[in-house]
Symmetry: C2
Subunit: 336 residues, 2 copies
């Protein structure tokens, strides 16, 4: 009797927030493996803001998910069958698995992970793509230098929390921007940020003036919109702005709000530069090793917000866009 | 009998386009020179888009012109009296003189020029600030490399025309964006641009697709607004956008239109960087020498749009914002 695989497939290109009708919940038997392939039982799936972009038509840094295709998502799972000499049954792996219970792979892009160093969900979080994004975005794209002041938005999110902690490890003052007192308290008390600004209650512009007496050297932007515009009023000569994402704009039904204050780049000879983590794939190993060392030393903490149940996917995904997740949003699909 | 100096002083901070009532036309006797000072009879004044920004209140790369102060402007003139051993009566000089007939200076920021190499107005144009802006913006901020494709907006303006010609000298394909068939014809037929796009009649986005088959490596932006947004849809991986100005936005009475398509920076790992020519002051000599060589060799042409009469200033300035000037806008104050 063949194993049944349940899946979420893209039924329609969402307009604004994805609706339940934008998905098809489907099932199909797991197919026979070809030579060189492995079958993975998916345990955890990574839910990321970038997924919203993958649902749209059009040119981007990666092809859009086609209508009728299984929704693309990173995941962690266990090899349950292998016709690939590189992987044995029982191996724990991460890769791009899709929103489903079972994934097949030819081994490309599949990484073995060891839960001796960190729990499995952490490999979708601080030791996974969000952690890599933070590491390379801050240190490479942002060219962070010792003692510089860092501001990060979406600071309690999977990427932002790591950006801030790496900056602290590098001896830099860090101010996080996040939504709500709980997240702000967490940033300062748990993660050691120098200050946190609750954008839901504070005047971000004034709060930046207060918390960044020496100005902002690097701004790591995950949100875009009004917060990016507020930061632009407070940059100084040579500030580097890393454009990592713009979660405030992803579900717009009107055009994206461009940064009205972008001429502050001219006045301040400042720059704004985009980054996509995939460009650094050849160096993931180097970064993961350094970050695992920081975790072992207690300098880098990882927090996951784990929701159980594949079926909850359409609604769980929306937690990201409502700012409801607290830490890296992970969908638990099966028990380890 | 003392010499009378006529001047235009800022009477009010303009809202939108500067109005006649934003200026006071004043006169006062030229004062006695102190030791170390020189008196300059102003011959030509440089009218530049940046002047609109200097009229606004608030933090910028240079202090705003105060209400009641003589409007700031670069100029070229002749020394008519000198108590400074560095300058003799009869010397031709450039500097920041203000919209007036006579300027006094302690010699700082005053440059002697030789009309053997180029007519005096050219020292306010291709061999002056606009030329320096083009040179350093393209080669330093834009980091132009041989063979790369350059797109420049405001291409028939003082800065844009030099940007395109330097790019051609460096062996790069160049596409200019300008308003109207005459300017476009001039760019291609006189200045050797590979193509010119008339933004008033063409679909800029489609025209860029057509004229930049290998994509855009450097975009030099003088205009902002819809043209910047159109270019952002056509950038490729690693495109550098130099933010030099945004003339389309300077007289807005509504907030500046931020570039809605700025997330194209993310998708394309592209950058947007501001530049201010004053940062390169220490290297003006080096650039002027190289550019004078190009002019002598017939590779670099300079075109000035000279309007006569100090009194015409309030209206002549507006030619810039109406796109009416064809070449560097210069106000002739007195005969050489």
């Amino acid at each position: 009797m063949s194993t049944i695989n349940h899946q979420f497939r893209l039924a329609a290109r969402p307009v604004g927030m994805p609706k339940p009708s934008d998905w098809n919940y489907t099932e199909e038997p797991v197919r026979e493996l070809a030579n060189g392939e492995v079958l993975i039982k998916v345990l955890y799936l990574s839910l990321d803001p970038a997924m919203r972009g993958w649902m749209n038509e059009g040119r981007s840094y990666i092809a859009p998910v086609g209508i009728g295709e299984v929704m693309r998502a990173g995941g962690a799972g266990r090899v349950v069958e292998s016709k690939n000499p590189g992987f044995a049954v029982g191996d724990l792996v991460t890769g791009i698995f899709g929103i489903q219970e079972y994934a097949t792979s030819n081994g490309q892009g599949l990484n073995k992970v060891n839960t001796k160093f960190a729990p499995l969900p952490v490999y979708l979080s601080t030791l996974g793509m969000p952690g890599m994004t933070a590491y390379f975005g801050l240190l490479d794209t942002g060219e962070l230098k010792p003692g510089e002041t860092v501001v990060v938005s979406g600071a309690a999110g999977a990427v932002g929390a790591v950006v801030g902690q790496i900056a602290k490890i590098k001896g830099c003052p860090v101010v996080g921007i996040a939504g709500g007192p709980d997240k702000c308290k967490y940033l300062v008390e748990e993660l050691g940020f120098d200050a946190a600004i609750d954008y839901k209650s504070a005047d971000v512009r004034k709060a930046l003036q207060q918390h960044c007496p020496n100005g902002i050297d690097v701004y790591f932007d995950n949100v875009g919109g009004d917060i990016l515009d507020a930061v632009l009023t407070q940059i100084k000569r040579g500030t580097r702005i890393v454009i990592c994402g713009a979660i405030s704009q992803y579900n717009n039904t009107t055009p994206v709000k461009g940064p009205s204050n972008y001429l502050s780049l001219l006045v301040n000879r400042a720059s704004m530069k985009g980054m996509v983590v995939f460009d650094f794939a050849a160096r993931y190993g180097e970064a993961a090793k350094e970050m695992a060392g920081w975790m072992a030393a207690g300098k880098l903490k990882s927090r996951e917000d784990i929701v159980t149940g594949l079926q909850t996917f359409p609604d769980t995904l929306l937690k990201l866009f409502r700012g409801e997740n607290f830490g890296k949003l992970v969908l638990k699909v099966a028990d380890e």
